[in-house]
């Protein structure tokens, strides 16, 4: 890790988010340091994506606090905290009429990245899609669009990467490029929160694993303490119970 490893990258304390009378997230606390990866599992509607959106600053918490890199998501309208977060989702979050390069350059400019043109090219190269940099996004396959989307999310070298089912739509090469890019970011001190339904995919990269149910963490442990088979059966029981 380069620097800042002694400070947690993200510290969330008692996060609550209610929609009307329903609490989608109900008292979630978590701390991640540089290089750590939390794989977050849970049935549909458990509140995983809401946690992600709270940490990304897209939703304001009803209660609780969250610091990213020691900076509150509420300070200065959350700008400083948001500048160190990268968001990857199953939706590409790209503009289909613009080229891959233009999309990533736009993101680089919005994050105040130095030399945005070079940074965009580097990010596209990291995702092995630089050869299609000038193609309009609408002309790219779903998998290539997802790679461009990941390039957009990492162009500002975020300290916290929030990934909501990032492997959706990726082929083998795309998955390998994503795993490599995430690994590189972690090696540079970034923390990773990975939301997925795929237990083996999540546990393969995680340093911590958590299961959410009805807005709460019902399990949270270090990866080393997790046995894949028993974890899978516990997870299945939880999902079945909610079905």
């Amino acid at each position: 890790m380069e620097h800042g490893s002694e400070l947690p990258v993200v510290e969330a304390e008692g996060l609550v988010r209610a929609f009307g009378g329903r609490r989608a997230v109900d008292g979630v606390s978590l701390t991640l340091r540089g290089g750590e990866c939390l794989a977050l599992f849970g049935p549909n509607g458990a509140g995983k994506t809401t946690v992600l959106r709270l940490l990304a600053g897209l939703l304001a918490p009803s209660a609780g606090s969250c610091l990213v890199g020691g900076v509150s998501l509420r300070a200065d309208g959350g700008r400083a905290a948001r500048s160190r977060v990268g968001l990857i989702s199953h939706a590409s979050m790209l503009y289909s009429a613009l080229s891959a390069r233009e999309n990533v350059e736009f993101a680089a400019n919005m994050y105040g990245v130095r030399r945005p043109v070079d940074a965009a090219l580097r990010a596209l190269q990291a995702m092995r899609v630089a050869d299609r940099a000038d193609s309009p996004v609408r002309a790219l396959s779903r998998g290539l669009q997802q790679r461009v989307s990941i390039a957009r999310a990492i162009v500002h070298e975020p300290q916290l990467l929030l990934c909501d089912e990032p492997y959706t739509g990726l082929d083998e090469a795309g998955s390998a490029a994503l795993t490599e890019a995430l690994g590189e970011r972690r090696a540079h001190g970034a923390a990773l929160l990975l939301v997925t339904h795929n237990l083996s995919e999540g546990l393969a990269v995680a340093t911590h694993a958590a299961i959410m149910r009805r807005g709460r963490f019902v399990r949270f442990e270090e990866r080393a303490q997790v046995d894949g088979a028993s974890y899978a059966s516990a997870y299945r029981e939880l999902v079945t119970a909610d079905a």
Binding site: L58, V71, R79, S83, R84, A107, M110, E157, P158
Partner: protein
């Protein structure tokens, strides 16, 4: 940002320097430039609005009985009604491009002030509406044989003021309507009542200019336009961040 916050941002070692984050004007420019680039590539909204404006003009023209109503009385109303409805087409698309593939999430996650998103969208919409006007106003003059020779500069000024008011209100309502199932219906329903003072003031000012009336007669209407712009540009900029809360 307070110094202490900035210091902590540097210490934590983010990939970007918090002191380099785009300010309000820079972010406004980035959003506007992006929206105009998208429109320039697709040209769908501009051509739709332009074709709508010209078709509307034609319909009004063929429904017009020149023996009953003088062109100079009809043209101002036609011009600003056409202008308002064609402008709605562009406003509809303003936040529509952010909905596809949830690009809005990436925009909101970026470390820029929310007001910059509104102002950038409004600036792009303004240029869009102004582009339609550049063609629609001479077309009205042509259809209705209205001489614009000595009033074209004043008319351009009215057009700028009217466009400002329309995009200020329309951009805000476009953001509010886009997440609803009835966005295409909701935007006109929300916007049109607010457009009434603009259309009225612009049409009244234009008719007085065309009739060669004293300038003093046009001033009260012009003041309404100016006041509307001032109030709604400020109010909508302040209100915009609250429309994004889920």
């Amino acid at each position: 940002m307070p110094d202490a916050t900035l210091d902590r941002a540097r210490v934590a070692g983010a990939g970007v320097d918090a002191t380099r984050l785009p300010g309000l004007l820079r972010a406004t420019w980035l959003v506007a430039h992006k929206d105009l680039a998208i429109e320039f590539r697709t040209r769908t909204a501009f051509f739709s609005a332009l074709v709508f404006a010209l078709l509307g003009l034609s319909i009004f023209y063929f429904a017009w009985d020149p023996t009953a109503v003088a062109a100079i009385d009809l043209a101002p109303g036609v011009l600003w009604v056409i202008f308002t409805f064609s402008g709605l087409l562009g406003l509809q698309r303003s936040f529509g491009v952010e909905q596809a593939d949830r690009a809005m999430d990436a925009l909101l996650a970026a470390p820029v002030e929310r007001e910059a998103i509104y102002l950038g969208k409004a600036a792009a919409n303004f240029l869009f509406v102004a582009g339609v006007q550049v063609i629609a106003i001479p077309a009205v003059a042509l259809f209705y044989n209205v001489p614009l020779g000595n009033i074209w500069l004043a008319l351009a000024g009215i057009a700028v003021l009217a466009a400002l008011g329309i995009v200020a209100v329309g951009t805000l309502f476009s953001a509010m309507a886009v997440n609803t199932r009835l966005a295409e219906l909701l935007l006109p329903m929300l916007s049109l009542p607010f457009f009434v003072p603009i259309v009225m003031a612009a049409a009244q000012t234009t008719s007085r200019l065309l009739a060669g009336r004293p300038e003093a007669e046009a001033w009260p209407w012009l003041r309404i336009l100016l006041g509307f712009d001032l109030v709604f540009v400020l109010a909508c900029t302040i209100a915009f961040p609250y429309t994004l809360d889920e």
